[in-house]
């Protein structure tokens, strides 16, 4: 109702009803979960709620390695680094700015053993033996770059394209652009591997200036995957049902008196929807339905990999059920942030992540889901060739690696390069804007046609920047 009539859901609902002559029955579902679905072309005239071109992917699983994994120890070997280890960065690299200010600290040797894998001969270090077996499905992008120096702004950018808060996240744009395929589950889901808060907290999956209906919903494993989903402790179903029925009768009376306000119907429906979620959401995250073999594939049989394995398996179950965008944080709370002791830090985090992620790719593939599901892996930035505190590496946004698999990606290729020390991306550079533009493109969305009008400005997901990188699909 407030002053943005052309973006306001209720107003649009009304317009929708008035113009389409459809009854409240269909409207009832236009809450959080399936708003997009029930929305006809007037709803968001700019997007039409359908792809702009033929999509290659339907869903995204974004594996976010929070804190910034070291590309030069995982996917981007730099022989020169070990040759020059102990010396300062050569002057030819010019001035650089680092978060911790150790730009002239000695270069830190990479202790990794490197091998080429798969038919394509993709380089992967010994820290990721399992993902290494999947490289023929993976396009490694060695030439990513971003603008932020610190976690907060960089994570904000990797989620929203902007260093400063206030813009919608990629998942929100996708939800806005494509809607959900499942009425009883949120269309944009966020999960994390531990209970620390992800840097920046919920605004990473927030909607910025868009209405809250497009925001990510945090999901957890267990009987109550969504906050407040279950009855309060000690209150029986029967007691709840009597209450609900009284609520409905009171609400219906008020609604009948104010029939022009269609939100009132939607609010009645939202209670019904809430209780349908109560039935469906726990099923979606119930891993006991999976076979032992599947569980093993994700590393659920081992203590170290079990926790992230469960989340990866849940991700598959969710996309299977039509969830559009899964954002899965590994190392929530910047746990990959190896300013010191990179050996022990990365050994541990690679170990807990490697098997589950490989399991996810293999499982998606064997079920035929990989064609429709784009898997994206990476952090908010990479790490410096220079050392920090003697045995760690600082943040490096000027050159780092991400990879993509499935969803139309041509696997078995390595795109782009960094300089000889892995400090800066130099060839086929892909800025965060390009990454987002490419992800959107694969989903059939054109970054310039996906428009949300706010404050009279046509706002677009990549702030009018960025290009799709065609090599992702052509090689």
């Amino acid at each position: 109702m407030f002053s943005k009539p052309h973006v306001e859901a209720p107003r649009n609902r009304r317009e929708f009803l008035e113009s389409s002559g459809m009854g409240f029955g269909s409207l009832a579902l236009t809450g959080l979960l399936s708003q997009a679905e029930a929305a006809p072309s007037q709803f968001h005239s700019q997007t039409g709620q359908k792809p702009h071109h033929r999509p290659r992917a339907k869903n995204v699983i974004f594996l976010f390695m929070e804190g910034g994994p070291s590309h030069i120890d995982l996917f981007d070997p730099k022989p020169l680094l070990n040759k020059l280890a102990g010396q300062s960065l050569p002057d030819s690299f010019g001035d650089i700015l680092t978060a911790a200010g150790e730009s002239r600290s000695p270069l830190l040797v990479s202790k990794r053993k490197w091998k080429q894998h798969g038919e394509a001969g993709t380089w992967v270090s010994d820290w990721l033996p399992e993902i290494a077996t999947c490289v023929d499905d993976i396009a490694v992008i060695r030439s990513c770059w971003a603008d932020g120096l610190n976690h907060s702004s960089s994570i904000c950018q990797m989620n929203t394209c902007s260093l400063i808060g206030g813009r919608p996240s990629l998942g929100s744009w996708v939800t806005y652009g494509l809607g959900s395929e499942n009425r009883n589950l949120p269309s944009f889901v966020v999960m994390q591997d531990n209970r620390s808060q992800v840097t920046n907290g919920p605004r990473n999956w927030g909607t910025g200036f868009m209405p809250a209906v497009y925001q990510g919903i945090q999901l957890r494993e267990g009987k109550q995957p969504i906050p407040n989903l279950n009855n309060p402790e000690g209150i029986t179903d029967q007691r709840q049902r009597t209450k609900l029925s009284l609520l409905k009768s009171l609400n219906q009376e008020f609604t009948d008196q104010h029939s022009r306000q269609t939100e009132l119907e939607a609010r009645i429906a939202s209670y019904e929807l809430a209780f349908r979620m109560q039935a469906e959401a726990p099923e979606a995250v119930d891993l006991s339905q999976e076979t032992a073999a599947t569980q093993k594939l994700y590393g659920m049989d081992q203590e170290e990999t079990s926790s992230f394995g469960r989340l990866c398996l849940m991700s598959r179950r969710l996309v299977e059920r039509g969830v559009r965008f899964v954002q899965l944080y590994h190392g929530a709370g910047s746990k990959w942030d190896a300013h010191s002791g990179i050996e022990s830090n990365h050994t541990k985090h690679c170990k807990t992540m490697d098997r589950p992620v490989a399991g996810l790719i293999n499982d998606l593939k064997q079920r035929g889901l990989l064609d429709d599901t784009l898997v994206v892996w990476g952090g908010e930035f990479g790490r410096t060739p220079m050392s920090e505190k003697g045995n760690g590496r600082d943040h490096n946004p000027t050159g780092f690696t991400m990879w993509m698999a499935g969803g139309g990606i041509k696997g078995g290729q390595t795109i782009g390069t960094t300089d000889e020390l892995g400090l800066r991306a130099i060839e086929d550079r892909m800025h965060v804007h390009d990454l987002h533009a490419s992800i959107l493109h694969l989903l059939g969305l054109d970054r310039m046609k996906l428009v949300y009008e706010y404050n009279g400005r046509p706002e677009r997901p990549t702030i009018n920047e960025g290009e799709f990188q065609p090599k992702l699909v052509t090689g």
Binding site: M1, F2, S3, K4, P5, E15, G31, L97, A99, G101, S143, N150, H151, S152, I164, G165, G166, Q192, S196, Q197, T199, R203, F209, P211, A212, V213, Q224, P227, N228, L229, N230, P232, E233, G234, T236, Q240, T242, L246, L247, L250, F254, Q257, H258, R260, Q261, L264, R267, I268, S270, A274, G333, S334, G416, A425, I426, E427, R429, N455, G456, R457
Partner: protein, 1071 residues
């Protein structure tokens, strides 16, 4: 007064570029070959896809020599013969632009183009066609100049509608005459009960009490409503409600944003200033002038100084080493906000390019920014007049003299730590370090700004000094401070500190359009053609006067934008929609106003009325238009004509916003505390939502779910969304059940009767009056009774269960899930019954916590204990010491009884010496070794969850216990058993107890799981259950004084009924 509207005579300036006709003819074969073989392929492969015939990014073509010379938006791309001055060469060197964007060219390729330019850019076959393009100067069209929002206010005559009797004032005459033409008829006036509710929510943001409703209904005089309106406008509640709207627009928050989201302890003074200003009906022009240039215009007015806080509410990243980059972001953010707030035009679009739809140039953006280019945001700035400062200085003299010696000693001890605190500047870029090293007088204005900004990081470290002090030094400092405090009586009251702005000096740094290198002076939108120079005041020695000039321009009556913008905002908040649809965008995309004459008439009236809001409110809410019912007898017919209610033929039913919802719940449950002003409080305090700490990264779940913005950018209007997440929050959260319980208590307390049955009846009636402001209807009464019968029957068949509704929970910052709220004044008993297995020798106790206060004495706020505090019942305790602890105030302590190495029984009190800050989330652990190779040591671990830069700290100490005594006591959380001097105050999240002294790798901080040696792991989450132990040993929690439900199913059913009322649409919507 200047005339705002000069028509601009603007001839598009066209310049012709003359090419030497001799060019093509004079090329040597080598030049031709060089171009064809080396240059053309390069240009073709790397440039032409974006700068060719099909696409001209940045208005630049590089596929002919003429176009290359002409250049693009950023100017000429090459200067033949001068590669170092050519933009093209800079761009491929990645010095300014970074071209091509996909990756830098190889060094030899760059050399080719350098050579080509130095040869004079030979281009075989280049003809002498002259490319023509309009210059980038103002080039406004007639359409631009006829943009409605920049036209002067029209002199409009109030129309005379046919059914004039209906009208109460001019607003009605405007709207009725238009709606009559559409064939519409106004709805009847709303009922009195609806009206009072509507106007209360509108002007106060709160529901009326049943007594207030009754009084209004009883007042039969014709002016009853107008009197009610006057009373509401005179109440301090008015300012509290309407300040909320303004704070939305100016993106006010109490925190920094970004990761650390640091609390801004003085931000609230601005919030209180806004409330104060509205309550005293300060004219809007003065209000604006104070916020933009209070320091320049009203230096003797403390409120005006606080008002400049407006310029400081943007987000700030406390550890950004890119000082210059951050400053640039901050100035741009401020420019965006000023455009949104005062001008209602999308300046943001023009940051990168001329506005595509509105006549706003990129230059306009930077001219607007130039008004702020020179600002300085000093920290810890006292808000006081020079006179007050002088008085304070004199009053301080006695104290300063008396304490000089002590302070000198403290300074001496702290000196090396302060020196260390400066080390952070070594992480800054070399140029910033050089600026810091310069004497103040040698710094340029820009350098001074950057040093001030960068220095905040040092000041941040100064604040953390206490944590860094070595134990010996800390004890000395504490002793000195105690001595210092004995002189406090000599000290005058401290002056208030507020976030403020002033100019860096009388000279401003340059404002430059990025990449174009065009310098900009302060200036208004070019389409107005008004020189800023006309608006400056007399020259001042310490300030530029730029902001004064802007403030004067914005607040002159003839400014068509700023005046309409504010009046439209007021209308929007009253009706839920503006007369112009986008209150912060009057541009072409925002759409034209629906009733332009009314907007102009109202604006004129507002200006004539001295820019005051209260009369404008009066005019609006007293109008017949405002007083209409939401229901119309011929609704279908009216809907067919005007489905969107563009002509205001009835009132709209509107959902309350987040703050109104929370405040209403607190009000009807009798919890609301109307204390006004002061620092923001946590959401658990039942004060108006206006006074909550607004943290950008974490907000109260109830507010958030009802579309509370995050305040990163200016918010012109709230969203209203409907989602199942709201329903879940309202229907299933413990919080709402607690509110239902409180409502029940209130309804019963406020109704008396002889019998139980009559009392229930009375309470029912009362509940309806409280929640809906109206009597219960007969039909509702019978439905409610039937519900109570059924529900109480159902409940009497069930076993009575623990009433968990009393337990308050919250989310700890930087954590997810639920934590327990412990209050020192209202302790929550949480026990694990004793068990043999819980008496352990080596042990690790781990806990996530956030503490709000410590005891003034030395008493310990307990985290976890197995002790009563009595020496006769030896046990152990882990907690935080009080301020008065002689040895170690405000630090972690572990106390344990047992047999010492000398064979005697005694206790070991070990302090961690790690300073514990208030309202900061921590992970803390104590790992206690009695046997094994580390016997006799204890490790304290502490991690500030809000500070990524700080690692997990570990302090190892020695102790003499060789055998811990056993006892029969339960383990108690947040207190010691039967001890009233031990209560925790704050949040406690996960607690884990292990039967081994864990090493770093196994700590809960990194391993959130049940390990082999885990004795108990309590998460306080709904899953597996708030009182459940997650470990295999199943040591579940109990509350010793269990709150068994009152034993009356009937009363329980009434709570359920109240819960339903608090979930109902009628409660959430105003009509």
């Amino acid at each position: 007064m200047l005339n705002t509207f000069k028509n601009i005579v603007c001839i598009p300036v066209v310049f012709l570029l003359m090419l030497s006709s001799a060019h093509a003819a004079g090329l040597s074969p080598e030049e031709i070959q060089f171009f064809e073989k080396e240059v053309r392929p390069l240009l073709s492969e790397h440039c032409w896809s974006c700068h060719g015939e099909k696409e001209q990014k940045g208005d630049l073509r590089l596929d002919t020599r003429g176009h290359t010379l002409l250049g693009g938006e950023s100017g000429k791309s090459i200067i033949p013969g001068k590669p170092d001055e050519s933009l093209l060469i800079e761009a491929i060197r990645y010095e300014s632009y970074e071209m091509p964007p996909a990756g830098k060219l190889k060094a030899e390729q760059i050399k080719v183009l350098e050579k080509w330019v130095s040869l004079g850019a030979p281009w075989p076959g280049a003809d002498d066609t002259v490319p023509v393009r309009k210059d980038h100067g103002p080039r406004f069209t007639d359409k631009d100049r006829s943009w409605w929002a920049i036209q002067p206010l029209q002199d409009v005559t109030v129309p005379k509608p046919v059914a004039g009797d209906w009208c109460r004032n001019e607003i009605d005459r405007f709207l009725l005459s238009e709606s009559e033409q559409q064939g519409l008829k106004p709805a009847p006036e709303a009922s009195r009960a609806s009206l009072i509710r509507r106007v209360y929510f509108d002007l106060h943001g709160l529901p009326p009490t049943p007594e207030e409703v009754q009084e209004f209904l009883n007042d039969q005089s014709p002016a009853a409503y107008e009197r009610l309106v006057d009373r509401l406008l005179d109440s301090p509640r008015y300012g509290e409600r309407w300040a909320r709207h303004w704070l939305d627009v100016v993106r006010f928050a109490d925190s920094d944003g970004y990761r650390a989201d640091g609390y801004r302890p003085e931000a609230w003074r601005y919030r209180d200033y806004v409330i104060r200003s509205l309550n005293e009906d300060k004219p809007y022009n003065q209000f604006v002038q104070e916020q933009l240039a209070g320091d320049e215009l009203f230096p003797d007015n403390v409120d005006a100084l606080i008002a400049t806080g407006f310029l400081t509410h943007g987000i700030y990243e406390w550890n950004s080493r890119d000082v210059a980059g951050q400053w640039n972001i901050m100035l741009n953010e401020l420019t965006d906000t000023v455009g949104d707030v005062f001008l209602g035009v999308g300046m943001q679009c023009a940051r990168c390019h001329d506005h595509k739809f509105d006549p706003i140039l990129q230059k306009d953006y930077f001219q607007l920014r130039a008004f702020f280019e020179q600002i300085l945001i000093p920290s810890h700035q006292v808000a006081a007049t020079p006179q007050q400062l002088e008085k304070h200085r004199l009053e301080m003299a006695a104290w300063e003299q008396a304490t000089a010696e002590i302070r000198k000693e403290i300074t001496a001890i702290e000196a090396p730590y302060r020196e260390n605190a400066k080390a952070v500047t070594k992480s800054f870029p070399p140029n910033i370090q050089a600026m810091i090293a310069k004497p103040v007088e040698e710094r340029s204005p820009r350098e001074q700004q950057l040093v001030t900004l960068g220095w905040r990081q040092v000041e941040h470290n100064y604040k953390e000094l206490d944590r860094k002090l070595k134990p010996d030094d800390k004890e000395k400092v504490l002793a000195l401070r105690r001595r210092l405090s004995t002189f406090d009586k000599l000290k005058p009251a401290p002056l208030p500190v507020a976030q403020q702005v002033r100019d860096v000096g009388p000279v401003a740094p340059k404002t430059t359009i990025p990449k174009k290198r065009t310098e900009c002076e302060p200036g208004f939108l070019a389409i107005f053609d008004q020189p800023a120079a006309d608006y400056y005041g007399s020259k001042q020695t310490d300030t530029t006067g730029r902001r004064t000039a802007l403030a004067r321009w914005i607040t002159q009556e003839s400014n068509p934008l700023s005046t309409r913008v504010i009046v439209n905002r007021i209308w929007q908040y009253h009706f839920g929609k503006g007369l112009a649809p986008h209150s912060s965008d009057f541009g072409r995309l925002g759409g034209p106003p629906a009733h332009p004459e009314l907007l102009d008439w109202l604006t004129r009236r507002f200006l004539d009325d001295d820019w005051r809001f209260k009369n404008l409110h009066r005019l609006i809410v007293n109008s017949a238009t405002y007083r209409q019912s939401t229901q119309h007898p011929q609704e279908q017919a009216m809907l067919a004509i005007d489905p969107e209610n563009k002509y205001y033929w009835c009132a709209d039913t509107r959902r309350l916003d987040a703050e109104q919802i929370r405040d209403s719940i607190l009000a009807v449950t009798g919890q609301l505390n109307l204390q006004a002003g002061g620092p923001g409080v946590a959401a658990s305090v039942p004060r108006r939502s206006m006074y909550l700490r607004m943290m950008r990264n974490s907000s109260d779940p109830l507010l958030e779910v009802f579309d509370l913005p995050r305040f990163f950018t200016s918010v012109p209007a709230r969203d209203t969304t409907t989602s199942p997440v709201q329903s879940l929050q309202l229907f299933n959260s413990q919080q709402m059940l607690r509110f239902a319980d409180q409502l029940t208590k209130r309804a019963y307390a406020e109704s008396t009767a002889d019998s139980d049955e009559a009392q229930e009846d009375a309470a029912l009636h009362r509940a309806w009056e409280i929640v809906f402001g109206r009597p219960v209807t007969k039909a509702e009464l019978s439905v409610a009774k039937e519900f109570l019968n059924r529900q109480s029957m159902l409940l009497s068949e069930q076993e009575t269960t623990v009433n968990l509704q009393q337990q308050e929970t919250a989310t700890m910052p930087y954590r997810t899930g639920q934590s327990v709220v412990f209050r020192a004044d209202k302790p929550s008993p949480f026990y694990v019954a004793n068990d043999k297995g819980l008496n352990t020798e080596n042990c690790t106790i781990e806990v996530f916590f956030q503490i709000q206060s410590v005891y003034e004495s030395g008493a310990v706020r307990t985290l976890v204990s197995k002790w009563s505090g009595a020496v006769s019942e030896p046990g152990w305790l882990f907690g935080v010491t009080g301020r008065g602890s002689r040895r170690k105030p405000q630090t972690l302590v572990f106390r344990s009884f047992g047999r010492n190495s000398d064979g005697k029984v005694g206790d070991a009190i070990i302090f961690s010496d790690q300073h514990i800050e208030f309202n900061t989330p921590y992970y803390a652990a104590v790992s206690f070794h009695v046997s094994d190779e580390h016997a006799g040591t204890i490790d304290f671990y502490l991690k500030d969850l809000s500070n990524d830069d700080e690692q997990l700290s570990r302090i190892t100490k020695k102790h003499e216990v060789t055998q811990v005594s056993e006892n029969d006591l339960p383990i108690a959380f947040g207190q010691m058993v039967r001890n009233r001097q031990s209560f925790f105050d704050g949040l406690i999240d996960d607690v884990r107890l292990s039967s081994q002294a864990l090493d770093v790798q196994s700590l809960l901080f990194t391993q959130e799981s049940v390990l082999k040696n885990t004795l108990g792991y309590w998460k306080f989450d709904p899953v597996p259950g708030m009182f459940q132990d997650s470990s295999t040993r199943q040591y579940h929690l109990t509350q010793s004084d269990r709150m068994i439900s009152a034993g009356s199913p009937r009363r329980e059913a009434f709570v359920d009924l109240c819960h339903i009322l608090l979930n109902s649409n009628e409660f959430f919507y105003v009509h």
